[in-house]
């Protein structure tokens, strides 16, 4: 069930009524749990079984890890959790990819092998909830947390619908304490939760789907060879689209959870105002980047084992981060690019960080634009269907390939897209050191009303092609 659907509005309205009835807290949690299963089953009911498997296995694995002190007794439980979660992820998400690559490899060796095409449907959100449950067992293994006392609380942690299919990836240490006592939003929190929901929908429906997606689709049509201008417009358009799509989902999730009295963490902090790639990953998909940092980069040694090993760890972490997004070499290249960016930045910082020039606003702005430009280059690989298309698009953007067309874009579309993306960048720049709540608090309630009304009207009158949230596929 997507947030941008009428069925979700009905579902959410019904659930709010149930949640605010004078019922015991345990019953309310049970309501939230079955509602979350219903929410997930709306896509494909049989896949709820995967959620159950992940929930039950990690519940017992965590208990086993916690019970024993000796590593050789704890490890089997950890491997069980890793095996089941990563096994499910591997089979459903990477099965086809691995088979394709295996076939290509044996064909290159001169062996003609044509297997039956695997007919695997990727369960929505599998990357998110497997990482979420893994963080639970890993935290217990690393001694950072204790197992949940209540299976109901734990099942709700795994399944809580606002963040279930596209994050944020919530840690048990943040969520489980919230399950202990009755959660009710205050009137102010409830109203603000609805505000966040509307802001998220506005980002998704109006900006991502209404304004940017049509232009991006034209430029990234595999049948089209865009020229330099069209390629840049399509790519900066995609930068805006994917931000508004994904951050829109996270904002909706935070708003919905807030209406129910729960707190889930921010996932974005105006990332296109980042002055460098380390800063970018502190602002973009924060819950994933911290997951990778805590459970991959740091266990690999982080920056504690010398310069070369640090660069190697960064690259490995980013490659896996890229692969997490999708079973395709384009995502691997995207991750590699970010690994290179981060390593290069780390090396440059060592040489140049002492200069005072970096703190001057014009230089900062230039750094923001440079970072954004390089991030856009990465987005090319994220958006293209194939590596050859991505290489051609990136070459065109860098002026290495000439020719190409306007990809069917007229001047007004180009201008409109450029203005939309420029507006996003300006908002990010101005908001880079503040929060939306701080800004809202400075405005009068009437101004806020006008803003909400405008967004509501725009959402209602922006019907277009029905598009799923991009991050559902991950």
């Amino acid at each position: 069930m997507a947030f941008n659907s009428y069925t979700f509005l009905l579902f959410f309205a019904g659930l709010l009524v149930l949640h605010y009835l004078p019922l015991p807290w345990r019953l309310k949690k049970f309501n939230l749990l079955w509602a979350s299963y219903l929410f997930y089953a709306a896509w494909n009911p049989p896949f709820v079984v995967l959620l159950w498997i992940s929930t039950v296995v990690d519940w017992f694995a965590a208990k086993g890890i916690y019970r024993f002190a000796q590593p050789f007794l704890r490890r089997p439980f950890l491997f069980l959790s890793l095996g089941v979660n990563l096994g499910m992820l591997g089979f459903f998400k990477y099965g086809g990819f691995l088979l394709d690559n295996f076939v290509q490899l044996v064909n290159m060796l001169g062996i003609q092998y044509v297997p039956a095409k695997p007919d695997i449907i990727v369960p929505v959100g599998i990357s998110f909830y497997t990482f979420q449950t893994l963080s639970y067992t890993l935290d217990i293994y690393l001694g950072k947390a204790r197992p949940a006392k209540s299976f109901l609380d734990y099942a709700l942690y795994v399944t809580f619908f606002p963040q279930l299919v596209a994050g944020p990836i919530v840690r048990a240490s943040r969520f489980l304490p919230q399950c202990v006592e009755l959660r009710r939003a205050t009137g102010r929190q409830f109203a603000w939760g609805l505000n966040l929901f509307v802001i998220g929908l506005f980002e998704k429906i109006v900006v991502a789907d209404g304004l940017l997606a049509p232009v991006v689709d034209k430029v990234y049509d595999p049948a089209v060879t865009p020229g330099m201008l069209a390629a840049w417009i399509g790519t900066v358009g995609f930068a805006g689209q994917i931000f508004c799509d994904f951050a829109g989902y996270s904002t909706c999730a935070i708003g919905v959870a807030m209406c129910l009295g729960f707190s889930i963490p921010d996932n974005f902090r105006f990332p296109y105002a980042a002055t460098g790639f380390s800063d970018f990953w502190h602002r973009w998909h924060i819950s994933l980047s911290t997951w990778l940092r805590d459970y991959l980069y740091i266990p690999l040694g982080g920056n504690r084992r010398g310069t070369f090993r640090t660069h190697l760890n960064v690259m490995f972490t980013m490659l896996l981060g890229g692969l997490w997004h999708g079973a395709s070499w384009t995502f691997v290249v995207w991750g590699a690019l970010h690994g290179i960016y981060l390593s290069a930045e780390r090396a440059l910082r060592r040489l140049l960080s002492g200069l005072s020039v970096w703190h001057r606003p014009p230089v900062k702005l230039a750094l923001v634009l440079l970072t954004f430009g390089l991030i856009c280059l990465g987005w090319v690989f994220f958006r293209c269907d194939s590596l050859p298309q991505a290489v051609s698009m990136a070459s065109t953007m860098l002026g290495l390939e000439s020719g190409g067309s306007q990809a069917g874009l007229d001047k007004k579309e180009i201008l409109f897209t450029a203005l939309t993306v420029a507006s996003i960048l300006i908002v990010h720049w101005r908001m880079r050191d503040t929060t939306i709540e701080a800004v809202a608090e400075k405005r009068s309630w009437l101004f806020r009303s006008l803003l909400i009304a405008t967004m509501l009207v725009a959402i209602a009158t922006m019907p277009g092609e029905d598009r799923a949230f991009i991050y559902f596929q991950f």
Partner: protein, 375 residues
């Protein structure tokens, strides 16, 4: 412990949240109501967005428990020319399912129905020679695939709600969306005009050409498009065309439906003017339609063979005026009843025709088109 960002639920800004929302809803409601009145005052009527999900919803209705089902296949002509209301008046106990898709030929949908063992109704399939050419067979395949693999109860329910709202309110129609209106105002300094074709929840489309400002220019534009299309078509060999139809298995599709007591009726709906003459130049009726009709075991009706199906207004040379569709549908139903294609309401074909195979052999050997199944 992982260092997460600040909490998100304990940071709601100060201010009267309830009042803010009450005023916001009032403002938004007032604006939307005003916009609705404004668009209606300009002649706009609600129209349902026709998409794969709505198609899938109607496709699923075939499986509902009802003894008599009529499925309409084809492209835009079937959606515009056939009046479901007229059919229902005459055959109130039938269920009608409109599965035609504008701009896409019906071969894939016919195949899908043929493979659906639960279907045993009557199919009226609007085709022309161009839609039956090989490259265009799969035009409706994405719709069928979406029905079988892409849809869910949730997406169907969501589509039902949105279709219901679209059938009630103009303001949520994409043709007057905020973006489209803003673009039109900025680029041309005017508001969007009322669109001449609107769609109902049952997927029927109604063409009210009276809403077109400059009908001559409108027709000219279509003439240019049609000319360009047919100029781009190479010569088609009728024998190869017919052989291709064997290859795709049109006859097997018909047989599979007939084997389940269903029936398929191929119809060629009216076109006029330049379009008709270009069609005739590229696909002469005598060499294409008549041979196809002679070859298939299904019933077939070409509008030019039935005087009551000719002479209707088609301002864009391809689709009937909405006012004419009841009369046209009545005429078409008369023909079908006369030929016994709609069961007990008319004479049955099998009562009056010679054995099918013998008849087909006769038609093929004489090279004469099959004009009527009632002889």
């Amino acid at each position: 412990m992982p260092s997460f960002t600040s909490s998100s639920s304990d940071r709601a800004p100060r201010g009267p949240g309830g009042l803010t929302w009450a005023v916001a809803l009032l403002l938004a409601g007032a604006f939307l109501a005003s916009a609705e009145l404004f668009w209606r005052s300009r002649g706009m009527l609600p129209s349902v967005v026709d998409d794969v999900e709505l198609w899938a919803y109607h496709r699923a209705r075939i499986h509902e428990d009802q003894p008599k089902t009529l499925v309409l296949l084809g492209a835009s002509r079937m959606k515009c020319d056939f009046s479901i209301a007229t059919f229902r008046e005459r055959f109130p106990d039938w269920r009608v399912v409109q599965l035609a898709v504008a701009g896409a030929g019906p071969v894939a949908a016919l195949q899908d129905l043929a493979e659906d063992r639960a279907f045993s109704g009557v199919v009226i399939c609007s085709v022309d020679a161009d839609w039956l050419t090989g490259p265009r067979w799969d035009a409706q395949r994405p719709y069928c695939e979406h029905f079988h693999r892409g849809t869910s109860v949730n997406s169907q329910l969501n589509r039902l709600i949105s279709a219901y709202l679209q059938s009630k309110f103009v303001v949520i129609n994409p043709s007057v969306s905020a973006l489209r209106t803003a673009r039109k105002c900025m680029m041309k300094g005017e508001f969007p005009q009322a669109w001449y074709a609107r769609c109902d929840f049952d997927r029927s489309r109604h063409c009210d050409f009276g809403l077109v400002d400059d009908l001559a220019a409108f027709r000219k534009r279509f003439e240019l498009e049609v000319q360009r299309w047919y100029d781009s078509r190479g010569a088609v060999d009728p024998a190869a065309w017919l052989a291709d139809l064997d290859k795709v298995g049109i006859e097997q599709m018909v047989r599979r439906i007939e084997d389940r007591s269903g029936r398929v009726i191929f119809v060629r709906l009216p076109t006029t003017g330049l379009r008709r003459s270009l069609e005739e130049r590229c696909y002469p009726k005598r060499l294409f339609w008549d041979r196809f009709a002679a070859k298939t075991s299904a019933a077939s009706i070409h509008f030019e063979d039935e005087p009551t199906l000719c002479g209707y207004r088609t301002p864009d040379m391809s689709h009937l005026e909405v006012q004419d569709t009841p009369r046209f549908t009545t005429a078409l139903l008369d023909v079908l009843v006369r030929r016994g294609e709609l069961g007990s309401e008319g004479r049955t074909a099998r009562e009056e025709t010679p054995p099918r195979q013998a008849w087909r052999t006769q038609a093929l050997s004489t090279g004469q088109p099959k004009r009527s199944r009632t002889g």
